[in-house]
Subunit: 186 residues, 2 copies
DNA sequence: AATATGATTGACTAATCAGTCGCAAAGATA
DNA sequence: TATCTTTGCGACTGATTAGTCAATCATATT
């Protein structure tokens, strides 16, 4: 494992444990087993480290979802596969998902270029619009529907991670959550 | 306005603007127009200030919701009044609500005594259980239903605060959101 | 007026912070 | 082997931090 990845891993863990400003760059370097200055070879500033981390983690999640998206033109099926994939990824990557959550409700979110965020959201909005056009989803503003889906994802994750469920129980709850969600928007 | 309230007001604003650790206690004192040391007369440490702020803001919100809860034994009606009150309060107290959000997904949340959180959640769980017993709400784990309701509240707030809606549009969207929510859990 | 009490002050400190820089080690090329 | 390039090092710095404390102020009581 190269130094950059070690830095990223340590940074993620410490950020989730102690918050962004609560984590000193020196601590990150120490935890990663590299010198203080090495960190600044890969990231010019601490802010750059934080935002770069967010973008890369988000991309990783997006790639996983894309890979696990059902190859179908059935909107419900596609949406379900994405909803499940989101939650499976979140449960398997708790630290990364918590990092995303923390980042979303922090002032750092404003430092990420709007374009990057838009590009990641766009395919989901298209899918929703598609569902509305086909009469499968209620005629509501697309980004309102998107807000409902995202928040449900976060809510279900919160619930699942707060209790010691088995894999099977988690799976069942996620399936059930999608049924509830779909019933709400269709 | 007394010094303590000035400190609280300044702290809230700065915490939301720059994050918890990104806000120096000296900045808070300066912004509040009080001396550095005065802050530590009211709050022993910075951590105490942050968590005390959270508890007090949460209590304020809870009181508002309680005051605006429908006096009825119709579960749907009670739940609706609480859902609306939550969102009206959030929109009218954007800084405080953002502070709550930020706090929730920060490591500070672990520093609040579990008992305090439980006490604030309990009445809502009771209401949900009541709805289930009366056959009005689906037979699901109570705190699962609670998670769905909370996350929907946050999601609708996020949507509303991201666009320049009029009061009437906000009101309509909130009403509609409750109908969707109720349809999902009943 | 004299005294007492609690609130307020801001200079101060020891610790910690993000970020720099000159130098060494490790490869790469020849 | 000699030279160049990349990567890594960690002591260092100037700025900033949370928190302290002795002195001052405002107000109330006698």
């Amino acid at each position: 494992m190269n130094k950059k990845d070690k830095i990223i891993e340590a940074a993620l863990r410490l950020f989730v444990e102690n918050g962004f400003h609560g984590t000193a760059t020196s601590k990150i370097a120490q935890e990663a087993g590299v010198a203080n200055g090495t960190l600044f070879q890969y990231f010019n500033t601490k802010d750059e480290l934080v935002t770069a981390l967010y973008v890369s983690v988000k991309e990783e999640m997006a790639k996983y979802i894309e890979k696990n998206t059902a190859k179908s033109d059935n909107v419900r099926e596609v949406m379900k596969s994405q909803f499940l994939a989101s939650l499976f990824w979140a449960l398997d990557n708790a630290v990364k998902f918590k990092f995303i959550q923390q980042f979303h409700s922090s002032p750092y979110i404003g430092k990420v270029e709007q374009e990057i965020i838009q590009n990641q959201v766009k395919p989901h909005l298209t899918l929703i619009q598609n569902g509305i056009d086909k009469g499968l989803i209620k005629k509501l503003p697309v980004d309102f529907v998107y807000s409902l889906i995202s928040s449900q994802t976060f809510g279900v994750y919160q619930y699942l991670s707060s209790k010691p469920f088995t894999k099977v129980q988690q799976h069942d709850t996620i399936e059930q959550s999608f049924e509830l969600l779909w019933g709400m928007i269709r």
